[in-house]
Symmetry: C2
Subunit: 572 residues, 2 copies
């Protein structure tokens, strides 16, 4: 249990005990509460006063499956509010196994200097000059860093977009095969890392000093039970390995809630060509991997390896949200093109969602035609080069809308929505509008309830309550390090009970369902407090007007949840 405090100005790293106020916290709970405590809400997100927190989940580093997950928190240059973005790969579990509760990065390196934070197998850390990495894309960078430090290392890093301080810049995380293809995409945290002069964290994967478990026997038993539950659950045990998240393409198109052509249609013409089924078939025919372990200790294997016609590796993993943003929103129904766009996004270090939507807004404004894959690839290269237009595109949909004076910009708090239209899934619209994170499906996604017919997606009734419950549950879940897909099983009270026993066996403190909810509420309250102090009001908890004004085919509904209901969502 220790904090690493990294001061970029003095280039020193201090190890300290976890301060009492942060004990028992992990993941998003730790990042959000620390950011709310330590970051001046009015500060420049790209200035020296902002702080970045890298915090593995409470259960990360234990033997529990699917817990190699890290939360990264800071004030966001995209939303201007608090941000947590989490990612898998290998670094999260490795930090957990080193007993590192959080890495807090403060200050800024002098202009033009670039550093790598190296954390060795004993958990000791130092900043090492890395000016030779300046401008490097992430695939080449990770290859170079693993060459220098050895294959048994994991990397969190930024590409050119982060160095250019673009608002869509991601932090890429290396996967089990040592490729930087998993992303903490949202909120432009790559730009914060760039502003600090930090190109990468390189973490030894062989550490063996995790925090002790309070009750190792109970933990072992419940961990085994939980893994068994995941294997037997049809969604986590079958659909994920078979189709990955891309399985949702057909389902959400069937529901008419797949925002297409910059959210002017709810069904994508030709969605069959980019469905999870088509993707799996194509990968199989070409000899790629339809299923693959991306993160340490993962048993779901939602990941895939997309290969080109000759079997050459293109990208991993091609996921639902990227197929939507780079394909559905732009009208590009071509998996090869989408895969190349995804690879470019990973390589340049960009959120695929915010970036795909930025391209779509540019297309909708008439800059390039919908469906033009070559134009999309060229726009990505502009971003990678940091040209004037590249910067505009790399700053996301709101910047593009401003540049072209185009009104149809599907963002909340400047962050793009995800692959569920608020008019076709009203509750997801509530989450987009009200989440302290800006529009974010992972903050409280109701797609499972709509597919299961537990809730009418087109009626305004009951959506605020459903979104509230989902947001509280997700805020709690994001504290633990369990991956979101594995977390889908926690809706079952008996399964939640197993999970809470795991937490208790780790921490030594009992927790029941109410305590679980309280944890989520505590996190949301800290996040809302930060945003309020940064100047956010209920005005910021709104969808763009066009969602209320332009009906979405095929259902021809608008977003119907009243403002007053939105404003009541966090009356805890």
């Amino acid at each position: 249990m220790k904090f690493l405090r990294v001061d970029m100005k003095t280039k020193t790293v201090k190890t300290e005990d976890v301060p009492p106020a942060y004990r028992g916290l992990g993941g998003r709970g730790l990042t959000s509460i620390l950011v709310n405590d330590e970051v001046p809400p009015g500060c420049d997100p790209l200035g020296p006063e902002n702080r970045m927190v890298f915090a593995p989940g409470l259960l990360t580093g234990t033997a529990l499956v699917n817990t190699s997950r890290i939360s990264i928190g800071a004030k966001s240059p995209l939303t201007g509010g608090i941000k947590e973005s989490n990612v898998g790969g290998t670094v999260p579990a490795a930090l957990g196994k080193l007993g590192i509760t959080a890495v807090v990065v403060e200050g800024q390196a002098p202009e033009g200097e670039l550093y790598v934070l190296r954390i060795d197998a004993r958990g000791e850390a130092a900043l090492e000059a890395a000016n030779e990495c300046k401008g490097m894309r992430t695939y080449a960078l990770v290859e170079k860093l693993l060459g220098t430090y050895g294959e048994k290392n994991g990397v969190l890093c930024i590409g050119p977009a982060g160095e250019f301080l673009m608002s869509s810049a991601s932090i890429q995380s290396s996967d089990a095969d040592g490729r930087p293809c998993r992303a903490a995409g949202r909120g432009g945290l790559g730009a914060v890392m760039g502003s600090k002069g930090l190109k990468a964290l390189v973490v030894d994967l062989t550490g063996k000093s995790p925090d002790a478990l309070a009750d190792p026997e109970a933990f072992k038993e419940q961990a085994k039970a939980f893994a068994e539950i995941l294997r037997k659950n049809p969604f986590t045990g079958q659909m994920m390995p078979a189709l990955g998240t891309a399985g949702l393409v057909s389902a959400v198109n069937s529901l008419g809630a797949f925002p297409s052509y910059n959210a002017t249609q709810g069904t994508l013409e030709g969605w069959e060509k980019v469905s999870g089924e088509a993707l799996a078939q194509m990968i199989q025919d070409r000899g790629g991997k339809t299923s693959h372990m991306g993160c340490t200790q993962c048993i779901l294997h939602c990941s895939n390896d997309f290969v080109d016609e000759k079997g050459g590796f293109v990208t991993s993993s091609l996921e639902y949200e990227t197929i939507w943003s780079m394909g559905g929103m732009t009208g590009i129904v071509d998996l090869d093109a989408i895969a190349r766009l995804d690879r470019l996004a990973d390589d340049i270090g960009l959120d695929t969602m915010n970036t795909g939507v930025a391209l779509a807004v540019a297309m909708d404004a008439g800059y390039r035609p919908f469906g033009d894959a070559e134009a999309a690839l060229e726009m990505m290269e502009e971003i990678g080069r940091g040209t004037d237009m590249g910067k505009i595109l790399g700053n996301g949909p709101a910047a593009v809308g401003k540049h072209f004076n185009h009104h149809r910009v599907p963002v909340v708090k400047n962050q793009s929505i995800a692959a569920y239209d608020p008019r076709g899934m009203q509750g997801n619209g509530v989450t987009y509008a009200t989440s302290p994170m800006g529009a974010d499906h992972t903050a409280g996604n109701l797609v499972g309830q709509y597919l299961g017919r537990a809730l009418d997606p087109l009626s305004p009734e009951g959506q605020v309550e459903a979104s509230r419950n989902a947001q509280i549950a997700m805020a709690a879940l994001d504290c633990t390090g369990i991956c979101l897909l594995a977390g889908t099983v926690l809706g079952n009270p008996k399964v939640l009970d197993v999970f809470l026993k795991l937490i208790a066996a780790k921490t030594g403190e009992d927790i029941d369902a109410k305590g679980w909810g309280d944890m989520g509420i505590r996190v949301l309250k800290a996040e809302r407090a930060f945003n309020r102090n940064a100047g956010f009001t209920s005005r910021d908890d709104r969808l763009p007007e066009f969602f209320r004004e332009e009906p979405l085919p095929p259902h021809n509904k608008t977003f119907l949840v009243p403002d007053e209901e939105l404003d009541s969502i966090f009356d805890f």
Copy 2:
């Protein structure tokens, strides 16, 4: 007393009696209260829901000198809040003489269509197609329009910047010589006009149906007295005709409060070369006009005609704020270059202040060197062509700062400060921070008090009170149509008394000093209400951090007024 309601969608103009709620209001009082009543605070400033109000002052159209002044109001695309920008020229008096209390422009013309609103000598109005004016700069445009409609017309119009919907776009007003050289510059209202598809208002100057005066005899007597006061006052009667507003260059440099090189210095190296004295000498030597009547009924003649070495007309009027923004902020100590930049700004239709500061931020970020006049002229032409970089520059300092990730951006609510540094004139900093208009010297300028040693410019003491009183007085003054420079005499209670008698003789309702203050407070309250409903909080009433962190030479002071004091300013 009538409203013209112009619907750009249906291309119809309706005449209606002034609605009871707006009777007795004029100028900024009318625009702000109407905008707060009729414009949805959350609307897109460049969308169909925004409304533009053109309202001459209460006394405009009467025989009182220096009252050809019109307020233009709308939601601002620059600040996102309410905006009033006022301008002189010939149209304001002409509208007053036609008995037109306000022109309210609603809706939007179909994309690609452009119109002129023609108001004839009987006060009848119609929209006329003007697609042939598309893209025209303002000098050529006004020449063309006066050719079509006759010399005895006045014009309010936009240039390419307004058509490009840039956030620094102005509305240019033709002067007594029929040149579009006076500007309602602030807040990007030219972009709002562009978004509506309205290229120009062309108003017949020969109208003779002003509203009746309640007491014509008393009005005549007090109007004569007021003109006499102006003629005898040293500032309005002597300094303005001699040096114009440029006389402030030497004074404010002496005070060390002239923001130079993007507000990194309080004194401009070589300010003597761009002082009012140098300007007057140069114009005189070349055979230009050092003094000139820009607006109908003006007796101050603050205007000038700047000519080149061969005596050819360049621009009118070269003013203090422009010498500062295009010269002081950019380090260009060359009146010929500044005059050409001013001419380009008028011709393209740009706020000289927001634009000069945008160039300065780009220079400070390293894009071009300080002092490089050719680079500045090229940047202006980029704006005029609407290139990618031109749009960024034309959207003002905040957009430029975002593009280059440069932290030193002297704006409040996205609008640039004026030629008085908040560190060298603390009270002007209070006005910039708290005015509902964004940073705006005309909202409450204390330079007169500092020059007269009535207030210490470097101490935080007493500044909030002084700014409050100035803001209330200006809000009231902006209702009347009296020009700001003439209004400087109202600080004397006996003179204010004369002025209040003029208002009473016009309206038939007595008004005392308290009623005068109440009028200002009513306006400020409406403006603050609009901004609050648009999502503004006390967070928005702040100067950028660098003013608190970077001391300004030569006094090496920072901005010292505490936040809590700022927040108390409108506790009416």
